[in-house]
Amino acid sequence: MGYYILEFVVVLFLAAAQVAWAPGGRAQGLAPDLVLVAVVLVGLFRGSEEGAWTGLAGALCLGALTAAPLGGLFVGYMGCGVVTGMVGQQVFSDRLALLMFVTFASLLAVRLVGLIFVPSPTFGAWLASTVLEGLFTALLALPLGWIGRLILHRPVSSLGSGLSSSILTRRG
């Protein structure tokens, strides 16, 4: 239980950092989606359930801090956590290039869900901002991926070195 609370706190810190991102460090006014990077990392390294939990926490924190409707955020972020969790079981998720690609694709998917819930006045502006934000976020996923790889243990090692004892205990 403590682990999940800690994860929630980390996601809250990331959501606050994302919203308060320095004006000088923005690309065309856009900040990287740090919460999504966390959801992708947890999904890839820990599996669908924890990915979905991180998505739930991230959507709630972002929704509260930006006064945004929660419905679209939940669908986007939790769905992303579940799908990356499923993908993470089948690919070598610790490869950073793959992490960048999955982050970029996830952001596209999340923004597409957002587009359904809150339509953008012009599709072109939405596409341009989504691609730019996706590239920015994917780039930032690189250093966060390094950190995440150190902190988050993979449930199953692809090299067959066995299950981590902590994961075994937690998953029963």
Binding site: L12, F13, A15, A16, A17, V19, A20, W21, A22, P23, G24, G25, R26, Q28, G29, L30, A31, G47, S48, E49, A52, W53, L56, A59, L60, C61, G63, A64, L65, T66, A67, A68, P69, L70, G71, F74, M78, V82, G85, M86, Q89, Q90, F92, L115, V118, P119, S120, P121, T122, G124, A125, W126, A128, S129, L132, E133, P155, V156, S158, R171
Partner: protein, 285 residues
């Protein structure tokens, strides 16, 4: 690259999480319908806003230090120059005060209320969300109950937006570049009136505003590049005479001499907002 799946997904847990998300969404909608904020959001805002303020100081600290070290001598010179200017202006204060007193007497004799000085509340921007479908800023205030929904947000340069939600010592502001924003504008030179709204194009986010003339005057539309646009006050949301921007180019609709639109460059840099004034509004109705 691929390896077989070794851990089956626990759909029961996922369903429980989805149910929790549904409950939180319904909770938010029910609270919004009462113009309130749901309890989980209130808790997260109470914890998250200080974090946002902390990050804002964290980002700006090294930059301010750098500016102080690099631009310090120049700032001292600038300060001296401004002091001299201030002394020069102070000499004119007596004369201006006399005009002010004359104006008050005149207003009283005409039975008009004395002009009210607007209440300005300084605020720091601690959060910024900009995108094609949403442009909002989170403001940190000194105390609670200083501002209310509908209050105007501006900088010395021009109009920024208006307050749409107040949460304790913080407030959400709808920026002028938000797709939902619109303001009645006035060409200072020609007195032409129109609606100013964000320019939505292939650009990533709206960095320009667009003005469309709504009512043809006797002389026809007269908007020219370089003209200054300010609020007209006709929308009864924003008061009159607040600068908005400057016309960059004018385009006329083919086939209609009366239809004209202009692209404005706003005076405010919406992507680099740090400090703003919240102007307390009197109830207009």
């Amino acid at each position: 690259m691929l390896r077989p799946s070794e851990q089956p997904t626990n759909w029961r847990t996922l369903l429980l999480l989805a149910a929790a998300a549904l409950i939180l969404t319904v909770w938010q909608h029910r609270a919004e319908s009462r113009n309130a904020t749901s309890l989980p959001e209130r808790i997260l805002v109470a914890v998250g806003r200080p974090l946002e303020s902390g990050y804002t100081y964290l980002w700006s600290g090294p930059r301010d230090l750098y500016r102080g070290m690099v631009a310090g001598p120049a700032l001292v010179q600038e300060n001296d120059r401004l002091r001299a200017e201030r002394d020069a202006y102070q000499a004119q204060v007596g004369e201006i005060y006399q005009y002010y007193q004359d104006n008050r007497v005149l207003l009283k004799s005409l039975g008009l209320p004395a002009e009210r000085k607007p209440d300005l509340v300084p605020a720091r921007v601690i959060g910024l969300v900009t995108g094609p479908s949403r442009c909002r800023a989170t403001l940190a205030l000194e105390q609670e109950n200083l501002v209310t929904e509908g209050d105007l947000v501006r900088q010395a340069a021009g109009l920024v937006g208006r307050i749409i939600k107040v949460q304790g010592k913080t407030a959400e502001a709808l920026l002028l570049i938000d797709p939902e924003a619109a303001v009645a504008g006035l060409d200072v030179r020609s007195r032409d009136q129109g609606i100013v709204y964000p320019l939505t194009s292939l650009s990533v986010t709206a960095t320009a505003l667009k003005m469309e003339k709504v009512k043809p005057l006797l002389a026809g539309p007269d908007l020219r590049p370089g003209d200054l646009i300010e609020t007209s006050g006709l929308d009864e949301v924003y008061p009159a005479r607040i600068p908005i921007g400057q016309i960059e180019r004018v385009s006329k609709m083919p086939g209609s001499a009366e239809s004209v639109s202009a692209t404005l460059r706003p005076f405010v840099d919406f992507f680099r907002l740090e400090y703003v004034w919240v102007v307390k509004q009197k109830p207009l109705h």
